[in-house]
Symmetry: D2
């Protein structure tokens, strides 16, 4: 089977590296271009990147980093790990030029005609893409995955909300260093410390889960009607965002019912037994980082349910999420039009 040509924007960052790593061994995609900022363009990828993993995948190091323009880095599917400011400017150019941009960046996530997708939750929202192309006159389009903490929270809530509508959520996150990228947080600020603030994060947690768990109406997503009260913290852990979640329902959900919700859910969310789970050290890499682990599930006798969820912020929360969305786009969208490459 011919593999689909894909390129990566922001390929040298922490998330970009993980996307590159996933693509380098991907059965359906062929990585044809890596693109990054002016500073890196023109260099060998191996020279431009501060590679954080064990080793560069074979064949990737010699790619010449391209500038982030459709001419240089266009492809039928373009995966973007750009920062928000650059993404806002660059991604529409690719969409206009015909690429399906699958982005980890935040600027377009909440736009009415942009699908914000976790395939296991709301693959049907991809239908917004037609609206988007029509409205914006784009041949390609933009499909987004959520914020890294949001991904964990939304996946933990989905099996419950699908069964019984959630009314209110209080969540405290314990987020890993890698969520801030590289260099990200100074070690002097994080060693043996907690920082109870991450710029812009709480707004994303308030809004994105509602869109993800919303329902597709006439040409738009009707947000799920629950409300989220978040407090984020950064802690001295390398990888893995944990969320301590309190869920209030309109009508009580018993512990055993909640357990059934998770047991009956297919894919991406797993209950973990044991009195002290989930834990980053033991659970973050499950399912190659794509599994969200849920533990500590019980009625609290106060608001409703209590649970703790954990997911790999760079995989389920970013790189893996983007690649999963690219697979969805490849399966559902690309088949409907001529393959450019």
């Amino acid at each position: 089977m011919t593999r689909i040509p894909v390129s990566v924007l922001g390929a040298t960052g922490v998330v970009g590296q993980r996307i590159v790593r996933r693509l380098a061994r991907h059965p359906r995609f062929e990585l044809v271009a890596v693109a990054a900022s002016e500073r890196s363009a023109g260099k060998r990828y191996a020279d431009a990147v501060h590679w954080l993993e064990e080793d560069l995948p074979e064949g990737v190091g010699d790619l010449i980093v391209q500038p982030c323009t459709p001419d240089a880095a266009g492809a039928p599917i373009v995966l973007s790990a750009l920062d928000a400011t650059t993404a806002r400017e660059v991604e529409p150019a690719f969409a206009r030029a015909g690429s399906l941009v699958v982005t980890n960046a935040s600027p377009f996530r909440m736009e009415e005609d942009v699908p914000l997708i976790i395939p296991e939750i709301n693959a049907d929202h991809l239908a917004l893409l037609d609206l988007q192309r029509e409205r914006r006159g784009w041949e390609g389009g933009i499909v987004a995955n959520p914020n890294c903490a949001t991904a964990v929270i939304a996946l933990a809530l989905a099996p419950l909300h699908r069964h019984r509508p959630i009314r209110r959520v209080a969540v405290t996150t314990l987020q890993a260093a890698s969520g801030a990228g590289h260099p990200g947080v100074a070690s002097l600020d994080l060693l043996g410390n907690v920082i109870p603030h991450i710029a812009g994060e709480e707004e994303k947690i308030r809004t994105e889960p509602r869109k993800l768990l919303g329902t597709l109406g006439l040409g738009r997503v009707i947000a799920a009607p629950f409300k989220v009260s978040p407090q984020v913290t950064r802690i001295p852990v390398a990888h893995g965002h944990m969320a301590s979640i309190t869920v209030e329902f309109g009508e009580t959900l018993k512990t055993h019912e909640a357990l059934e919700c998770y047991r009956g859910w297919e894919g991406a969310v797993e209950l973990v037994d044991g009195p002290a789970r989930p834990q980053p050290r033991r659970d973050v890499d499950r399912g190659e980082g794509m599994t969200v682990t849920v533990g500590q599930l019980r009625e609290d006798g106060v608001f409703g349910l209590r649970l703790v969820a954990l997911g790999h912020n760079l995989e389920r929360g970013a790189a893996g999420a983007a690649v999963a969305n690219a697979e969805l786009v490849a399966a559902r969208v690309l088949g409907r039009r001529e393959l450019v490459a």
Copy 2:
């Protein structure tokens, strides 16, 4: 002024050491005996203790560790840092023998006739002591301070609850390694990890704040009527318990009103400015570890108020709390009877 003779039970543990350190420089108390388990009794304190601080205070190292019996370690005021099992057995013996036992241990905290005290919140509850002595026929008595995480939470809630009754609280704690004592948590379990479980902790957080913030009725404390939903976690920080708190009131409390509550509160609780505060590294030692710092205060538009509180688990949450209670007992109780020593 003559100093009051005091002794310390469980003097070799993490909390006991801190009590000893506070007493060694205390203007009103004179440390006359250190007591610990059979294993340590008879040794020089310097040899028996795995001292975790910089240096042993002068004059303390040569004390001979006593067994935990009233004969060997009795004093008008006895500060106890015993583990729960030993405390349950040993503390009543001291109380019976005439000592006022100021304990950090948990067994008697929730007993109806035992004052559970944070002086800045409910010094008046000390009146339960009369009841206790009468009922139990003790010449001395037992006064308890709360669990270390509870102390932080209760102090953070007190200024609000005194102003407007709290209805429900959701709290996620991020607790330091030293809260588990020494050796406590294995480094292999805690380095770069989070453990979302601490045995018995959540029950204490559910019940103790209600007693602390309760009102003294006819010979007993009527618990504050709010409910608490806790999720505890242990994180790789040495000292400092953080609590991420959601507060629901019967009637909305505005952010500016909440700020006023804290500004008008005297002692022990301080607002800290700055977008990323409080932090263990910067705030845990305030007021010699006795100040609880509150930040991130705002209406959440969902449940009510959101805030983050931080306190030193070994000081405000244990050793400093016990010494503060001993000072309260010395001022209010000892004056009323003959000094034994």
Copy 3:
């Protein structure tokens, strides 16, 4: 091909778990028994073990933990991860009963007739086994792997020493938490701290590399004539022992010659490029934890050569080392006698 039955002594400890994990997927060995202390014997392995990895390998959890006796846990090859005290008593019993005991424990390592083996260095020393059996009248025997830090140091030195005799070595180790087992070092002692002492470790580093790099003479190993000056430290890293090594030769070894020594060496030791390598985060898992990584190699203009080596203390330094020795024993010794199973 029939797989060889093997059992594991001390199967519930940190090293034992890793041996079990390796055996559970081993093509030549069949794990027939797990044994541990009285406290664990009789329980399901899943219930007895505080499993530190992601998940128990399939089929292992239901094994009933056996007592450490030849009757209950004997096998043609027995892998031991016992503590030193128990090993000293128990391992000879197994050897006497006919098992080939491949041990990670320290008591017999330096005995004259016990092969201390790293297969990539001194597989020929296995010949001592004949002497051992004859002297001790054992049907089986004991083969040891070295101390975890020693394994890293010896493998880093081997390519150099084989080329040009080493005269003196100064080494400072930076050792990971898992080297102390579980619970091992208290988190309160290790978070943000360094402990410049590990009981008994320096003596092992002084003596074991000399035996490993020694030459097989008439019925005994003539220790390599170099001397080692070690200083050990424990640092807040989960896995991976690093060694900062100064090597003095009788005759100068140039940097380029040293590089050639490593490039020409087959297996187990790898040079790593880059100004800031090796690093635990990036290099510890190479070769499934069996590769020792060497970097920072250069003449120092003072003593001779400088280099930094890193290896996985639980794999190359313990569990993987034991399994590698078991493979060696299976290939070279078992073939020569009747297979018991």
Copy 4:
């Protein structure tokens, strides 16, 4: 007594902050100006600085940050915590304008006519200042303190070398995060990791101790004739540089003689007892961070002596060192000329 006006260059950095904190409570100095880069100049110090300590000292926050020019920030004594590049350019301008510049920066440390001083070791080297002023035609001058790791090493070696000449030194450092300043090392690179490289550090450790322990000859310092072989590492500790040191002498120094060297040494270096000392957690703050702690002292039977030294990199290694040099300059140099202020 009138206090001497002093100013601080680079006042917003990690070291600058600590200098400001020391000066704010200094009995002999009066902080009259804080200066920093263009980006900060003109702002209130409280607004310009990312203060890493508990609280800004009183009276400092309202100072307006000055540009680093003699006009704006000149004073009889100027303490500099500038980065190397800026220091090279700016410090001579201040010296030319009449200030005595006491610098923590590296550019001039090894210049022949610049005193490199640790007062407890080589206060007499201050005599180079006359030569410097004469040669360069400066009314003021530059006095430097050493690199932060060097300070610890040199102080640990001084009592030995003064007693018996050292021939060779092998040293491995374990350096704290704060040594890299702020933001310094990314937390993602340092959490649970070791980085065996710090740019430029080893060259400083090779050369600076020899100048510090050198002897003042005819108008210049004759470097101590020993050689140093360093390997540096960065570890996940906030504050405190540890050095694992091997010392070779021309003639053997016994352990008890070495102990005598330290016991007889006055100030700044202290032996610490106990099998597992020194440790950052327990020893780094001794003497307000100005004491270097030495432990693990013993003959190694290979090269000579082994020891482990620890010092606070920001105090003994930087801010405290600069203030101590300023005190020395105030006492010995300022008295000899008219006070400008």
